[in-house]
Symmetry: C2
Subunit: 530 residues, 2 copies
């Protein structure tokens, strides 16, 4: 800054004497812009010559996309993901991001991790699945030997067969189990409406996938989807509904947790070179009374003790504006982080566009309660003290751009407040929240939005690399495990760099590919998995 | 910050010993929140006891509105002003803001300052006004003795008379001369479309109001509207189209400027106790070549010399994303700020939601070119060096919230980037840009948006007072004039405080009014003008 001010003074002195000498102006300008470049998240990463080559390839595609969009206004992150997904997937930038090992996925919710169309084509065709609609038009799903009397149950297979075109039934199911629509503005007129539809999808899904055998298949599939998107480690949140058997028997929370862990370990055993591990954040609903919170935190301590490697910590979930603020549960939440058996916390906080209300002030409480990361933290730019405190304690935000857009905090992701934070180098990780709900797969779609909109035109491969590194650095793993994961990620990263360099530039010379070159995705995927 | 960290450590130590002692938690929390309160713009203002009383009244209304909106989601700044205006005007908070002396209006454009419905009901009914539509369906308006051959002119009075219901014609005219509509989403699908409609309204208006006698009436009326909205000083921008007479004679730019000054001085002479003054920023279009810019800056120097008190400085206008960046005009723009006859500049910069493109980098150039204020500066939160430089040079942003919303940079004003800047105390002034275009009157509507959305729930009377003080402080006036204006504003402010205190609380005791109390606007206005 001082250097710049000096140059400015020199420049001011020079142009008052002769106009031709405005080179000092350009110097000052370049210095300012270069200075800004240094603070963009990830800019301290030093790239190897091969990484630089890949960066040239990537940035060439990126600038081509951005310049075209600057002209025709057809900028993908400015449009709702629900209508922009196909276009995004055709982007060369997206294809490279898809190949990239993105490290860890740190902010996800249990029932919305896997592709809903897969759930429909697979689990919903299983035998003994019953469905009914409540008086409030809520779809309920349940596997049962014989239907109970809690609802007017019909066998899903019967209902599907009653449709002249069974595929129509599946389409209807898709709209009940996800927010997918081609007219989001009509379907979801405001934030409460979209949250209400969202929660309704989760209720329906939960009844189906919490059938113990379904959960085993579902969780395995979810992890598979993340692995295929080049994610090595997953930390997901859940309300821990009790798994059940066909005869109605319910497992206890601890028995349920044991199933989760077993599936996760089996998945790891099946993919020892492609995957690192899975952890769980117990995150029950926040819209409850104090007595219930006491039950939650008591269970959290038990779970952490019983599953020390699998249970990462605690959080509270549900639409933050409508739920109770953290400060209302001070006693139990302080107890949770006290004593030898204290549990790490990963609180959602400030997932709101209000300012100065209970929801955004949750940011203060999350930090005071020693949160390890902040879920969303969307409102933190309006809280300079919370921002400074997070920075000094090195607490990152878990940023989920598509979630913020589909759940209607923000329309055009260029206006997302985290864009400013990225320009200042504030620590963030990118995650997907509930990718199944809006048809995203794992993290690539969110990484694309972050790269194009939150980073702006100047963010390059160093930004993406930093996001991956951050995801490892801020995972809940201890130092040793974190170092192991980082090493695994680094090897995949090197592979990725080599693959992209080879693909776009056989001679490894810095030749910029033709902008409209066709991208042979299938070959790339093959090469990456060699 | 250090104090807080100390308290945090104390708190961490205390809760690990006993749970009942969480009072340290509340202390740390309150300290953090109190600390945040101190950085909100205006919080260093010290209120008198009477101001405190008015603050209580105001904040009572504000919190009632915000709490209701938090529940039912019907928050005015979240909705397009084009559909939310009536609701805003019914708000008690708005009514108090309307009474408030708001200081100076520093960012306005010539032809969009006065109410369009007034222009229609008055000037469009004058004799000799002709209209035609170009092949591109652009409405042109012109006063002529006899129509020229440049277009297929019809007398407006004839066209109006040909309508079965003449009022229908006037409604049609309103839609051609403003962006007013009850379906903005349908009418303006994207930012280029809304800008194209916007520029079309300005073209039509310009042809009509640049008729010298019409301009005299129009400008006087515009100043009157600002005065009635309790604005004391106006600095407006214009492209300085040449005024014309009925016989087609065109005045030169200097002759035109002389008319502007004469009208402004006459308005001042008619309102010596209610108004302070008017200044002009010569702001021609930016989408031109270098030779044209040389003509502009040459004229700017001439105008500043000939009208030293009336001409405040120079700027360039037009949709920034589509116009050329400042850096393309380096030679002439540096010449402008060089030498004894240098001219102050007030550049539009960063009125965009792009990041890392030419438009937002205009922020850097505006600052390097010694801009006195930044027009909009919407993108500055993505430019930490530009932000730091503006702060160190004490360069404020001219923030126009409704303009940013109607012209489609942002949908929900709670997401406006300036909310974060307000929380950090960054210097801003609030202005209206083109109030006539969207049916706002002077500044009150924009002040309401700023108070409710950019300040959040915690911004109080001190914020509003600071905005008014800033508008005087950052005006183009020299020290003496600025002090005079400040004195005049202070007297009006004291009057305003007394009026509101008297109105809501006859005994001047801190009684909080009933939230649903009816607000008798007419009485208040009378009292304010006593």
């Amino acid at each position: 800054m001082l250097k710049i001010v000096g140059l400015l003074l020199a420049w001011a002195a020079s142009f008052s004497s002769t106009l031709d000498e405005n080179s000092t102006y350009w110097q000052a300008r370049e210095l300012l812009l270069a200075q800004e470049q240094t603070t963009i998240l990830g800019q301290e990463q030093i790239l190897s010559s091969e990484e630089k080559l890949v960066n040239d390839i990537l940035m060439n595609f990126k600038m081509s996309e951005m310049n075209t969009a600057f002209g025709d206004l057809n900028f993908i992150p400015a449009k709702n993901f629900l209508v922009a997904k196909m276009e995004m997937e055709a982007s060369e930038v997206f294809q490279i991001i898809k190949l990239m090992p993105k490290g860890a996925a740190l902010h996800l919710h249990d029932t919305a991790m896997a592709t809903v169309s897969w759930i429909i084509s697979d689990i919903s065709y299983w035998e003994n699945l019953y469905m009914c609609y409540t008086l409030q038009n809520q779809l309920l799903l349940k596997f049962m030997e014989t239907p109970d009397s809690s609802c007017q149950w019909d066998l899903m297979s019967d209902v599907r067969a009653s449709y002249p075109v069974p595929a129509d039934f599946d389409m209807e199911l898709l709209s009940r189990l996800s927010l997918i629509t081609d007219k989001p503005d009509e379907a979801y007129p405001d934030i409460n409406k979209v949250w209400s539809s969202f929660e309704s999808t989760l209720i329906a899904l939960t009844g189906m996938v919490m059938y113990r055998p379904a959960w085993e298949v579902y969780l395995y599939r979810a992890l598979e989807e993340f692995k295929q998107d080049n994610i090595l480690h997953v930390e997901f949140r859940g309300t821990l509904p009790r798994l059940y058997e066909l005869n109605g028997t319910e497992l206890t929370e601890e028995e349920s947790m044991a199933v989760y862990e077993t599936v996760s370990l089996r998945f790891l055993a099946d993919n020892p070179c492609e995957y690192y591990g899975t952890r769980y954040i117990y995150a029950p609903l926040r819209r409850v009374d104090n007595a219930t919170i006491w039950n939650y935190v008591t269970l959290a301590k038990q779970l952490k003790k019983r599953f020390p490697n699998y249970v990462a910590g605690f959080d509270l979930v549900g639409q933050e504006d409508l739920g109770l603020p953290l400060k209302d549960f001070l006693d139990p939440l302080l107890w949770l982080i006290t004593g030898e058996d204290k549990v790490p916390v990963f609180y959602h906080a400030g997932e709101t566009n209000w300012m100065g209300m209970n929801t955004d002030e949750n940011l203060i409480d999350a930090l005071l309660m020693n949160t390890s990361r902040i879920g969303h933290g969307y409102a933190i730019v309006k809280h300079p003290e919370a921002k400074a405190l997070a920075l000094s304690k090195d607490i990152p935000l878990e940023v989920c751009p598509i979630s913020n857009q589909v759940l209607m905090l923000i329309k055009d992701l260029r206006n997302h407040p985290v864009a400013g934070l990225v320009s200042e180098g504030f620590p963030i990780v990118i995650s997907a929240d509930d990718p199944g709900t809006w048809g995203a797969v794992a993290l690539s779609h969110d990484f694309y939005e972050a790269f194009m909109a939150l980073g702006g035109a100047k963010a390059d491969l160093r930004f993406l690399k930093q996001l991956a590194i951050n995801s490892v650095k801020y995972s809940s793993l201890d130092k040793t495990a974190s170092a192991d994961l980082m090493q695994m990620w680094q090897a995949k990263w090197d592979e990725f760099i080599a693959t992209v360099a080879r693909k776009y530039n056989k001679n490894s010379k810095p030749v910029i590919p033709h902008v409209n070159a066709t991208f042979e995705e299938s070959n790339l995927v093959e090469e990456n998995h060699m």
